[in-house]
């Protein structure tokens, strides 16, 4: 495969660099608000008594709540070559539940960069690995996320990526 000129040495230097850890304390309120937003009425997320008597033994959060625990900034900004961004998908592994009162620390690092040319022209694929660790030092989950950026830089947006992630 020919080397893409879109991917610069500077971009490659971001591979493996970890974001500043961001820590989230998970309250019953956070869980309730998230479960309500996605429309999930599972009693494990809302009913303290039912959750305590269940096999899991207490209130937990919906698995995809992790997505809302956003990683902190990277030590240096990634030199985005394109203006638009799309979320291509995620691959989660879940090891432990997120419980009320947990403190979840989120760290993201860039795993891989590659380009493809398609309907949207040249696209840059960024594969990032996000690790979620609780206050006991247990990795509760990992999320591998792939984003696609494409399109001419838009001077109006001041370098801010426009799209959906």
């Amino acid at each position: 495969m020919p080397e893409s000129s879109t991917i610069t040495e500077e971009m490659r230097s971001h591979i493996g660099v970890e974001s500043t850890p961001a820590t989230y304390e998970v309250s019953r309120w956070d869980i309730g608000r998230f479960a309500c937003a996605i429309g999930d009425d599972n009693p494990l997320y809302a009913d303290e008594v039912a959750a305590r008597e269940s096999a899991i033994g207490g209130m937990i959060a919906p698995p995809t709540i992790l997505r809302s625990f956003l990683p902190g900034a990277s030590p240096k900004p990634f030199p985005e070559p394109f203006a638009h961004i799309l979320d291509a998908g995620s691959n989660y592994r879940f090891f432990h539940p997120v419980r009320v009162g947990d403190s979840i620390t989120v760290v993201r690092s860039l795993k891989e960069l590659f380009t493809k040319t398609g309907r949207l022209g040249e696209m840059l694929f960024k594969v990032q690995e996000i690790t979620y660790t609780n206050q006991l030092g247990q990795v509760v989950a990992t999320q591998e996320t792939t984003t696609i950026t494409f399109g001419e830089p838009d001077p109006e947006s001041g370098g801010t990526l426009v799209g959906t992630v």
Binding site: I38, V49, E53, S54, A55, P62, S68, L70, L86, V165
Partner: protein, 158 residues
């Protein structure tokens, strides 16, 4: 092995929560589908709960400027629905070990249906594992968001 499913620690489920046993699942089984009828209000609620405030998900002008017909659904919200279908099915004694989604198409605010099917079952280190194929379909029946999952279920004989 899941921290929740150690042998002998299984407790009967409470109330609405049910137990799905590994032995009761076979390849080809279909999960009860989850129907969703999303509206802009839900997208605003999801923006607030998730912190994803890209206006393309709630501001029609911004969405149209970006070339869409109307506001589009957050990919991560679609993943939440697919995950819900799985966690509803496995109840409180199962554990979703792996879950992946691919966003192949843009979704507008029409009716969605999440579907899932068992593609395989196996035991690994004593754990009963079930592999699933997942799909979110739009109103036209188009699969915009395929996915996969691996769940661990309690075993009657464990």
């Amino acid at each position: 092995m899941s921290p929740r499913l150690k042998s002998g620690q299984h407790k009967p489920s409470a109330g609405k929560l049910k137990t799905l046993w590994f032995e009761d699942v076979s390849e080809g089984d279909e999960l009860p589908p989850l129907a969703i009828n999303p509206d802009t209000r839900q997208l605003v609620m999801y923006a607030g709960a998730s912190g994803d405030f890209q206006p393309i998900h709630y501001d029609k002008d911004v969405a149209q400027k970006a070339g869409h017909d109307a506001v589009i659904i957050h990919g991560a919200l679609k993943s939440a629905w697919l995950a819900q279908m799985v966690t509803d099915w496995i109840g409180d004694s199962g554990w979703m070990r792996e879950f992946s989604v691919q966003y192949r198409g843009i979704d507008y605010l029409d009716r969605k249906i999440c579907r899932g099917r068992v593609t395989g079952t196996r035991t690994e280190d004593g754990a009963g594992l079930v592999e699933l194929e997942l799909a979110l379909e739009d109103e036209a029946g188009e699969v915009t968001t395929p996915g996969k999952a691996v769940v661990e279920l309690p075993r009657r004989d464990a």
